[in-house]
């Protein structure tokens, strides 16, 4: 994909909707991908993508450049996803209290990535780790961010990144052994 023009943020913040659409086309795939891996459900990932870009539009004037926009997008995508997961957890707890079958809720929650085998595999794997660990693993393994970039994006220090990655990988290894699957 062609790189974004240098003045695209300026044009978008001046009200040029075509420029804003360029920003969307360029970054939406990344935002959606992170959101989907964080939450495993297409509806949630699309909702978060929408929230993120409406927020971007409101704050266009505060971005210094394209790199600050990208860091900010990663951060807000993870934060919106964490909020959605918290809300969903509350929802599941309420459903349990009200006597719904929790198994049904569970199936509904992770309906989408089960379509392909690979997606099933990754969904199962990522469910083994906490959302905070998941964000670190995604940024490192799938987005290719360095420890420093992850720290900056999530507003945590490098040693926290390191320990979350370590715990996440330990949990993934344990799950792999337990399930006896060739992942």
């Amino acid at each position: 994909m062609a790189d974004l023009a240098d003045d695209v943020i300026g044009r978008a913040s001046a009200g040029d909707i075509a420029a804003f659409e360029e920003i969307y086309r360029y970054h939406a795939g990344m935002v959606y991908r992170v959101a989907l891996r964080m939450m495993a459900r297409v509806e949630d990932a699309e909702e978060v993508t929408q929230q993120v870009f409406i927020s971007v539009h409101k704050h266009l004037k505060s971005f210094n450049g394209k790199s600050s926009l990208k860091t900010w997008l990663y951060r807000i995508t993870v934060n919106c996803s964490l909020n959605t997961l918290k809300a969903r957890k509350r929802h599941v707890e309420v459903a349990w209290v009200e006597g719904f079958d929790p198994e049904d809720t569970h199936d509904n929650v992770r309906e989408t990535l089960t379509r392909g085998e690979i997606h099933q595999q990754i969904t199962d794997l990522l469910e083994e780790i906490t959302p905070d660990q998941r964000a670190c693993i995604l940024f490192r393994t799938q987005e290719g961010l360095s420890y420093e970039e992850i720290a900056l994006t999530l507003g945590i220090n490098v040693n926290t990144v390191r320990s979350r990655l370590k715990r996440a990988r330990e949990a993934l290894l344990t799950a792999r052994t337990r399930k006896g699957v060739a992942v």
């Binding site: 909707i17 804003f20 659409e21 969307y24 939406a28 795939g29 959606y32 991908r33 989907l36 990932a45 699309e46 993508t49 929408q50 870009f53 409406i54 539009h57 409101k58 690979i118 997606h119 595999q121 990754i122 794997l125 693993i137 490192r140 393994t141 799938q142 360095s146 420890y147 390191r162 990655l165 370590k166 990988r169 330990e170 993934l172 290894l173 792999r176 052994t177 992942v183």
Partner: protein
């Protein structure tokens, strides 16, 4: 370097290529001599490969952009946005020191801002009522041809 130290590095810096040359040499040396850690390394790289080899999803449906475009075009920045943003910023600002107190802080600010407005509004309403009654009483006095506004004012205050 013992097994624990080695495996800590295998799970983090070594896998992520963040080790310095000296650490790298030590890890390689340990792996050469230790079959347990070699096996662990094979598992770690297998899991990492699984995560890395997942194909990217197709991307959001076209409706997502349509909804975003509708919202950002239909709703230019309003005073409500400004209030929301400032309130969010305020809550964010309180977070490190206050934790859940941020909510209390925001509520206090709302009280400080809104309460005077409410009080002022009630005062204005009371003043309007007073003037209205004053008019009635004053008109009666005028009809009587012997008006004393200050006395009438006292009466009105008493009524309110």
């Amino acid at each position: 370097m013992n097994c624990q130290q080695t495996q800590d590095l295998l799970l983090t810096d070594f896998l992520d290529q963040q080790t310095n040359p000296e650490q790298q040499l030590q890890v390689h040396q340990h792996l050469k001599d230790c079959s347990v850690c070699r096996e662990q390394w094979a598992s770690i790289t297998a899991v990492d490969a699984t995560l890395k080899n997942v194909p990217s999803p197709d991307g959001p449906s076209p409706y997502v952009w349509e909804r975003i475009a509708d919202k950002v075009q239909a709703r230019p920045a309003s005073w409500l946005d400004v209030v929301q943003e400032n309130l969010a910023g305020l809550i964010e600002g309180f977070k490190p020191a206050w934790g859940y107190g941020s909510f209390v802080g925001a509520m206090l600010v709302v009280l400080v801002v809104v309460l005077p407005l409410v009080v002022q509004q009630q005062h204005q309403a009371a003043t309007a009522d007073r003037e209205y009654l004053l008019q009635l009483v004053y008109a009666d006095d005028k009809n009587a041809g012997d008006g004393d506004v200050s006395d009438s004012g006292f009466v009105v205050d008493h009524l309110l």
